[in-house]
């Protein structure tokens, strides 16, 4: 039971960290979100509690935010790079 409530606590903490780091540095948000989600799922099955559910939800939100920001960053970086190449070829 000790390990099972630890999963819930760690999941909650990682979920909060994931949400914060999704905006600051998405690789950390992504990793924390994944680990938090796995631990939250295990905690919900082995010792269901409000904390386990909260940890699961926050980790999921952090993971979703990281994923969305990766997609937006890739789309913007690709457009900027291509626009730069187009401008360079026009000037060159």
């Amino acid at each position: 039971m000790e390990n099972k409530s630890t999963f819930a606590v760690v999941s909650l903490v990682l979920g909060i960290v994931a949400i914060i780091f999704a905006f600051v540095f998405w690789p950390v948000g992504l990793v924390c979100g994944i680990i938090g989600l796995v631990l939250g799922s295990k905690a919900k099955k082995q010792a269901p509690s409000g904390m386990a559910t909260a940890g699961w939800i926050l980790s999921l939100i952090g993971l979703i935010l990281s994923v969305i920001l990766i997609i937006v960053a890739v789309a913007c970086a690709g457009a900027l790079l291509a626009a730069g190449m187009t401008a360079a070829s026009m000037l060159g």
Binding site: L60, I68, A79, A82
Partner: protein
């Protein structure tokens, strides 16, 4: 055609919007189908998002692998770092597919849910998500096709050459993927032996991608011998699909497939 969409006065990449819409559509499809394979909704959501994260990482790493020699030259000339390369890297679908499947299996094992049942629930959603994502590629003008008289102009695109009609291979692939999605939906209406639905996807998409690669014209793709990297990967995945259809699981194998 329309790389940027205005939503409440904010400019947002159309490509990003279509990926999010495609993922949401795939998620809804998987949730509605979960009872066929006896999957819990929260396990499905957790595995799907972890698989999405794995897919993005795999797609980035595949992109980086394709352009690694150019990166090494740039690093030598300008001090461009590996972290900068990672953050700037684009996405390649096959890397995403492989990364997604690996992370899905890992997540299913860690949260103790049957991995094959989870995969069979999610797999038909993949061509659906991909089909919508290819519409995003069409909007952005990336992954464009060869010049042709009946093509379209991508003059608003930062990726495609301007002033030349290009085959909208993105839309052709999107249509083929939708057909694959409906076929897999029908085939997956009942529980199937492990590996069969995966085989259908690998063979189906492998053929689609192999053929359409001959009509792609975007420059940043590795070419090795007579085929592009994606064509070689397609051939490998078709072979893997044949293996899963005919040889997996082995007859007489009694161990539980989880």
């Amino acid at each position: 055609m329309c790389p940027v969409t205005q939503i409440f006065g904010v400019s947002i990449s159309t490509y990003a919007i279509m990926i999010v819409i495609g993922f949401a559509a795939g998620l809804i499809c998987a949730v509605l189908r979960r009872k066929i394979n006896g999957i819990r909704a929260d396990d499905l959501v957790a595995c799907l998002f972890i698989a999405a994260a794995g897919a993005l990482l795999g797609a980035k790493l595949f992109y980086m692998a394709q352009g690694f020699t150019s990166f090494l030259q740039l690093a030598k000339d300008t001090g461009y770092t590996f972290l900068e390369y990672f953050m700037d890297a684009g996405l390649v679908y096959y890397g995403g597919f492989i990364g997604g499947i690996l992370f899905l299996f890992l997540a299913a094992r860690l949260i103790k849910t049957p991995a094959w049942a989870m995969l069979d629930t999610i797999l038909p959603s993949i061509p659906l998500m991909h089909a919508v994502g290819r519409v995003g590629c069409f909007s952005a003008g990336c992954c464009y096709g060869i010049p042709c008289d009946f093509g379209v102009f991508f003059d608003a695109s930062p990726f495609a050459p301007h002033g030349v009609r290009l085959l909208p291979v993105q839309l052709i692939e999107s249509a083929c993927l939708l057909a694959l999605f409906f076929f897999m939906l029908r085939y997956g209406k009942q529980k199937r032996p492990p590996g069969k639905i995966l085989a259908v996807y690998l063979i189906g998409y492998g053929i689609i991608r192999f053929v359409l690669e001959f009509f792609r014209y975007d420059a940043f793709r590795g070419i090795y011998g007579v085929f592009s990297i994606s064509q070689w990967v397609s051939l490998a995945l078709i072979a893997l699909g044949v293996f899963f259809w005919f040889c997996y699981p082995k007859s007489g194998q009694k161990k539980a497939l989880v």
